[in-house]
């Protein structure tokens, strides 16, 4: 981002100006620095904030922390540009920024102030800023500058009131100290109540906050007019130098520590990516859950699914799952949920949820496929055994019927040829008998052939074939079929479905009429066979309807039926494809 170049550049310019201003002041007013390194320390703090801010923002741009830091850093450096006695915002900047640290640490790691706390945060910062302004306005930092040419003192001075100023400093310092102590208290509370995810960020924040607390609470105890607030005092004490250094180190460390943590946790996003890669369609639900826990760094994370009762959620091991305090529930798919610690970032949570949702729907698809395969296999087996049964039936019918007659025929003809012993008149009788047997055999074979596969179905199509069925049906059949030819497998299936339905209607349901309707619409044949019988169609009793379902399914279609005391209707839908 461009600003990650611009901001350090601006900070650099400000630093140079600050340095230049200090040199100018020293020369112009003949001043000496109390601690020569003061400016460098201050610049160091500022730069720590600027650079940490830039790094943090690059690592996790959606976190506000980075922005806070470089803003703080830039202001920190900016406030160092002062040319006594005119410009004195150094104190304002210092005090205000001290106040800000507490807020920033409160909001780590998101850098966002939660809605309900926002008014309080704004109020607090406003108060601290007001104090900062008041403190500056009531103290003449440069009273000791003896310059008749210049203005009486710095521009923001309203009136030099050392006692008031002292009071303001004390109160203001107390407010800031209280805020920092509150921060510490909150951190302790979060630690005790929070999950491992929360505890982690508390520890990190504490590394910065606790030293800050020490400095901020200790500082007001040490004299307010020491070098913490201005470089140009004359008082000289060893402990104030060390105070200054401690202050500088603590302050500079604050953003650096937090930035390092932000950089490290950036990799949590790649943990989700790793999880996606690791997810395997064959994974069980508990394995998936383990992956999620790893990716979100949240051991309390759970996958939950809608249970049998309303509102109940069931976990990967079948037990009930509840959303504990401090946890949130995110919906993954239709009836699956991810329960996770509230502190888990929304991006990670969403990414994990999406990945799990994919895995779940994959698993579901696979389960459906397996179930479908099982159904198909069963259906195929039924079709094969139905075919075998059919063959057996044909063999039996042939054996018992036509074959018997032909045997009798042959015997009769043989007897005729022998010129059987008795009266020749019997010859005519024998031949008549033979002819009769032959005719009967032909009739039976004709019927058998029709039962196996009616020639007219293949020759003339579905409508004539079903009309032909109607001719021989014991129940009146009304035929209402769209004309046209279809692939042979489809015509065959439709024919046998209608035939079975008509037989059932006549034999079992004692219907008085049957209607066969077939329509072609949208690349499908819809066959409806309705009768007005007693119903009673049941796949458990006899395999008739099952066989028809199998026929339909084998062609990629479906079969449903309603059967009740008012009649039975069978609906078959078969798609028309070129494969036939």
């Amino acid at each position: 981002m461009k600003r990650h170049i611009v901001i350090p550049a601006v900070a650099l310019v400000l630093s140079a100006v600050a340095f230049g201003a200090q040199e100018y002041a020293l020369a112009r007013y003949g001043l000496t620095l109390k601690f020569g390194e003061w400016l460098w320390l201050q610049l160091g703090i500022g730069w720590a904030f600027v650079l940490s801010g830039v790094v943090a923002e690059r690592a996790q741009p959606e976190s506000g922390i980075g922005r806070w830091f470089w803003v703080i850093g830039t202001i920190w450096i900016g406030r160092l540009v002062f040319v006594p006695p005119l410009i004195q915002w150094e104190t304002i900047g210092l005090v205000a920024l001290y106040g800000l640290f507490a807020v920033v640490l409160f909001t780590y790691p998101s850098g966002r102030v939660l809605g309900q706390w926002r008014p309080l945060a704004i109020a607090y910062i406003s108060v601290v800023t007001v104090f900062a302004v008041a403190i500056t306005a009531t103290f003449d930092f440069y009273a000791w500058v003896d310059d008749p040419v210049c203005c009486p003192s710095h521009l923001l001075l309203i009136s030099h009131q050392p006692d008031l100023n002292q009071a303001l400093l004390t109160i203001g310092g107390a407010i800031v100290a209280a805020a920092v102590l509150a921060l510490v208290a909150v951190l302790v509370l979060r630690y005790r109540r929070g999950s491992r995810v929360v505890r982690r960020s508390v520890i990190v924040t504490s590394l910065a906050a606790v030293p800050l607390a020490i400095v901020v609470v200790v500082m007001p105890i040490v004299s307010a007019t020491t070098s913490g607030f201005s470089a140009f005092e004359v008082a000289d004490a060893a402990d104030t130098r060390s105070t200054m250094w401690i202050q500088a180190i603590v302050l500079a460390a604050l953003p650096i520590v937090l930035a390092i943590d932000l950089v490290r946790t950036r990799y949590s996003k790649s943990r989700v990516a790793d999880m996606v890669i690791a997810i395997d369609p064959a994974m069980s639900a508990s394995q998936l859950q383990a992956q999620v826990q790893k990716a979100l760094a949240d051991p309390s994370a759970r996958l939950a699914f809608a249970g049998d009762t309303d509102g109940e959620l069931v976990g990967v091991n079948g037990n009930t799952v509840i959303t504990a305090d401090g946890q949130d529930r995110t919906a993954i798919a239709d009836d699956a949920y991810l329960i996770h610690d509230r502190a888990v970032g929304s991006d990670e949570r969403d990414a994990a949820a999406r990945a799990v949702s994919l895995a779940i729907s994959n698993a579901r698809l696979e389960a459906q496929l397996r179930a479908q395969l099982a159904v198909t296999r069963e259906s195929r087996q039924r079709i094969v055994s139905a075919t075998d049964d059919e063959r057996r039936r044909i063999e039996r019918d042939l054996h018992d019927g036509a074959q018997q007659r032909l045997v009798a025929l042959a015997a009769t003809l043989a007897a005729a040829r022998r010129g059987d012993s008795t009266v020749p008149d019997d010859l005519a009788a024998l031949l008549d008998q033979a002819a009769g047997e032959a005719e009967a055999a032909m009739g039976e074979l004709r019927d058998l052939a029709r039962g196996v596969h009616p020639a007219i179905l293949e020759q003339a199509g579905l409508k004539p074939a079903i009309e032909s069925l109607g001719d021989r049906s014991p129940v009146p059949v009304t035929v209402d079929i769209d004309p046209g030819r279809f692939p042979s497998a489809i015509e065959t299936a439709a024919y046998f479905i209608a035939a079975e339905a008509i037989t059932n209607a006549a034999k079992h349901a004692r219907a008085s009429e049957v209607t066969v309707r077939a329509r072609v619409e949208g690349g499908l044949i819809r066959l409806d066979v309705a009768d007005d019988g007693e119903g009673g169609l049941d796949p458990a009793k006899g395999s008739g309807i099952r066989g028809l379902e199998d026929r339909s399914m084998a062609l990629g279609g479906s079969l449903t039926y309603e059967s009740g005391p008012d009649g039975t209707t069978i609906h078959a839908t078969i798609p028309i494809s070129e494969g036939g």
């Binding site: 003339a460 001719d471 049906s473």
Partner: protein
């Protein structure tokens, strides 16, 4: 009378040739597939064709299709269809090409030479012949409140005979009635069944068959 035979079963074809020639018919040609049938009819212009429903090349209803095609070209050509199966559908299709000179017989009817030859002659002369088995099947259809129940036994017999394509005099002869009686039965039948009377013997076959089928 000049007859053309179209039959793919060799045994039956030879049988037909022998029966017809013995009875004095002139067999102009005997073919065994649908295409040859069409070509030979165009070449020989016989009076009547005896055609198997099922023939090469498709072994579906090739014979029937060829015959129907020929009827549009030769409206006076008599067509006698032979079929293995009792299928009213084919009769109706044939009748719808024009009712004169149309016949449908079961193959086994061939073994009854007299009936068979009679049918060939009738169809060749422009009459209609429908196999009794077909008519019987149509009679056997189950109907709601069967209107046929309103007919007397004699009337039913006359109706069946009409459906087979018999003329009134033929009916009178075979049923031992006078022609007048036959005619009055017919009027009664048509009234009871709410059918339109039409003098033409052939057209009434179509009407009756249609009625029986509906």
């Amino acid at each position: 009378m000049r007859v053309l035979i179209a039959e793919d079963s060799v045994l039956l074809k030879e049988g037909l040739i022998r029966i017809l020639e013995d009875a004095g018919f002139e067999v102009t040609a005997a073919v065994s597939d649908a295409e040859s049938l069409v070509n030979r009819v165009r070449a020989d212009t016989p009076d009547v064709c005896v055609v198997d429903v099922r023939m090469p090349p498709k072994l579906e209803a090739d014979g029937l299709e060829a015959a129907i095609e020929l009827r549009s070209e030769f409206p006076d050509l008599g067509i006698l269809i032979l079929s293995q199966y009792v299928e009213p559908h084919y009769s109706l299709e044939l009748l719808e090409t024009g009712s004169s000179g149309v016949g449908y017989l079961l193959k086994e009817r061939v073994s009854d030479e007299e009936d068979f030859l009679d049918a060939v002659t009738a169809v060749g002369n422009g009459g209609t012949r429908i196999d009794p088995a077909v008519v019987a099947q149509l009679f056997g259809r189950k109907r709601k409140d069967d209107p046929l129940d309103r007919l007397t036994d004699r009337e039913r017999d006359v109706l069946a005979a009409m459906a087979e394509g018999k003329t009134n005099s033929a009916i009178a002869e075979t049923h031992f009635m006078s022609v007048k009686t036959v005619e009055s039965h017919i009027r009664s039948i048509f009234m009871k069944l709410d059918l339109d009377t039409d003098g033409d013997v052939n057209r009434r076959v179509l009407a009756v068959l249609r009625w029986l089928r509906s």
